[in-house]
Symmetry: C2
Subunit: 244 residues, 2 copies
């Protein structure tokens, strides 16, 4: 009788989630996927840092500028944690990040906010999409990598700052709502389009993301992950009085 107390929904084989890094990384495909993941997250944090610091210049006042700078500094701390882990597993952070620089730079280039409110919506949407993605991927990770990723995800209270500012701006001038809703939609569209590019380029990462074990990966499952993230985005935009 095999594992009679396993719920029907659980995977029958040992999941990587039950292993720690030293056990899980014995599989070179898994190892390569995690190096990719940490490299992508690290570059994402560095690019977010740069962009938030840049957007801080759009702030209407000193307190708002400081709040955005605080978000940027928090992203940099995440960057440090991620690159430290890469060095800890004998990977050169620069080499791990390099493949993700072009798509992330392109995303930021295509979505440079034209004013303070667009910057806030971008910070909020970007943070939230990143958090959803981190949570999705956490369950596919060994225990050590998972606790790093969930630690980096740790709520920093940034979201509530942006939500409050955007809500009160829309309350004061309801016409803003339409423009910002369009902007949020564009952000999500550009994010998905760059994510597709990464999926197409990085086999090991993509396979791991959907819990694949065979060669190649399940494109439909990737699609489902993207839809879950898009749905969560749509709900958040509604909460912000922006119909996405």
């Amino acid at each position: 009788m095999e594992t009679p107390d396993t719920p029907a929904s659980a995977a029958p084989t040992t999941s990587v989630a039950d292993l720690d890094w030293s056990a899980a990384s014995a599989d070179p495909r898994y190892r390569a996927a995690v190096v990719d993941l940490l490299g992508a997250l690290a570059y994402g944090e560095l690019a977010a840092f740069e962009r938030l610091a840049e957007d801080a210049k759009l702030a209407p006042g000193l307190a708002d500028k400081a709040a955005l700078a605080r978000m940027a500094a928090a992203e940099f701390q995440h960057f440090e944690q991620l690159t430290e882990r890469l060095r800890g597993i004998d990977e050169e952070p620069t080499a791990a990040m390099e493949p993700f620089a072009a798509p992330l730079d392109e995303f930021h280039r295509l979505t440079a906010p034209s004013d303070w409110l667009e910057g806030l919506v971008k910070a909020y949407v970007g943070d939230a999409i990143a958090a959803d993605f981190y949570r999705e991927v956490a369950s596919r990770l060994d225990s050590d990598t998972r606790s790093l990723v969930l630690g980096v995800l740790d709520d920093t209270g940034h979201a509530s700052f942006a939500v409050e500012k955007v809500r009160s701006a829309i309350a004061a001038d309801p016409r803003l709502g339409g423009r910002l809703a369009l902007w949020a939609r564009r952000l999500m569209g550009e994010a998905l389009s760059q994510a597709q590019r990464v999926v197409a380029d990085r086999d090991a990462l993509s396979t791991m993301l959907v819990g694949g074990v065979a060669d190649g990966f399940d494109l439909a499952e990737i699609g489902r992950m993207f839809s879950r993230i898009t749905e969560a985005h749509t709900k958040r935009m509604a909460a912000l009085d922006l119909s996405a």
Copy 2:
């Protein structure tokens, strides 16, 4: 017989350096001067954060970009410490920083680096001038404010990064030396010119800076402080193979 054991060089009256904040701040002029100082330092750190984050974009590679972002994040931590102290003494940080925003913004506007090496020289020179200034002013401060200021000054190892990069760039292309020496001279000139503007505008701060107690302040002593800082700058530039 009055205080026979006081060395001839020591001030005959109790120095503010022997008091803590609660004793020293009973003098409203001293209190106003410290609020000005903390406001100026805080805005300086915030502006430095923004500028370093911006200059990180000029980095030739990911490792260099991360190094500059690290310097920026450290400045932001200093900003947080300074604004926290302001709140701790019931002063609104924004109000305290406001008078210094224009001169500091103007300094950065006039000294936007045109390439990576100019950015590094600026980060190095700016950091060093700030450190000299912090050290000059520390001896005029009550014990609590002094330990805050010296803590913020705490060496972060940034200087050696910039020095190493600039030195090796000049070794590889000696013609760079002339251009960067000119640049360093311009940085110092613009810094002094904005500092003069602050001195002219902020009486209480300027009086405290030179240890004045009477109404008004000793302009000659301010001049001597500026020359000490300029001399230290000149020596550092020589060490960097830049004759300033």
